[in-house]
Amino acid sequence: FRFKDSLAQDLHEADLVISHAGAGSCLETLEQGKPLVVVINEKLMNNHQLELAKQLNRDGHVLCCNCSTLVDTLQSMDLSTLKPFPPGRPEKFALFLDKVVGFQ
């Protein structure tokens, strides 16, 4: 897999994704509507990368575990508890910006 340009095709075909907590990986997976288990390696990560994974977990969009609990998590997980991830709304930004610059 090393450095594919895009994982979109693989994501499309997957039933379950297990990933590190990188923001791009998490968001791409969620946007494709795939269930996601995020494996957190606190020793390896930049502190701020954890923020998104933790928030997504709190909001019920992903399951989290670490390397040692991964197997248990996979065995006992209930993916139906995961909530769908609504897409972002760039149109809200456009509306806001139009007001700011004076295009009404």
């Binding site: 930049n46 701020h48 923020e51 972002g88 709304r89 760039p90 930004f93 910006l97 139009d98 700011v100």
Partner: protein
């Protein structure tokens, strides 16, 4: 860079054609952003006939975890590089979302404003990855931007002058 480019292109996706011409500025070390931008603009040109855009590179102002002292030097160097660009384009609006590249560009725009040459509106959108803390660029530009947008409510609480529109990318 990478994720920042993807995010900013999403921010641009719903903007009307009045936001033209678009001048993209990114780091010289960035290999992937040019392709993403061209692809975005190409798609856009299918809908909007008069699509105009330019691409410029500036030296990267700071590597991840680069020391403070050397960051100041490299940022100053990037500012010197950005000044002629901002002078050339004289933007009405600067939209940025967090890579180190945006700081020298905004600073040079502020200088142009101070000198009475051109006053740009600076809009900063913090990355969706930032839930509880601001990036370094965010911490700096919180004070120097005209509009500072965050995408999670925790940040709105911590930074009251910020604007929260929910998730916009």
């Amino acid at each position: 860079t990478g994720g920042h480019t993807t995010e900013i292109l999403r921010l641009l996706s719903c903007l009307s054609e009045s936001y033209s011409p678009r001048h993209y500025i990114f780091a010289d070390s960035d290999k992937m952003s040019e392709a993403k931008i061209r692809s975005f603009e190409q798609k856009r040109a299918e809908t909007f006939s008069n699509s105009q855009f330019t691409l410029d590179r500036i030296p990267r102002s700071r590597e991840v975890r680069q020391s403070w002292a050397s960051s100041v030097v490299t940022t100053l160097y990037s500012i010197l590089y950005s000044l002629p660009l901002t002078y050339k384009w004289k933007p009405d609006l600067i939209l940025c979302n967090g890579p180190g590249t945006c700081v020298p560009v905004c600073i040079s725009a502020l200088l142009l404003g101070l000198l009475g040459i051109k006053r740009a509106i600076i809009v900063y959108v913090e990355s969706i990855c930032r839930v509880e803390t601001l990036s370094l660029s965010g911490k700096i530009l919180y004070y120097f931007s005209d509009y500072f947008i965050v995408q999670w409510p925790d940040l709105k609480e911590k930074y009251p002058k910020s604007i929260y529109l929910g998730r916009i990318v």
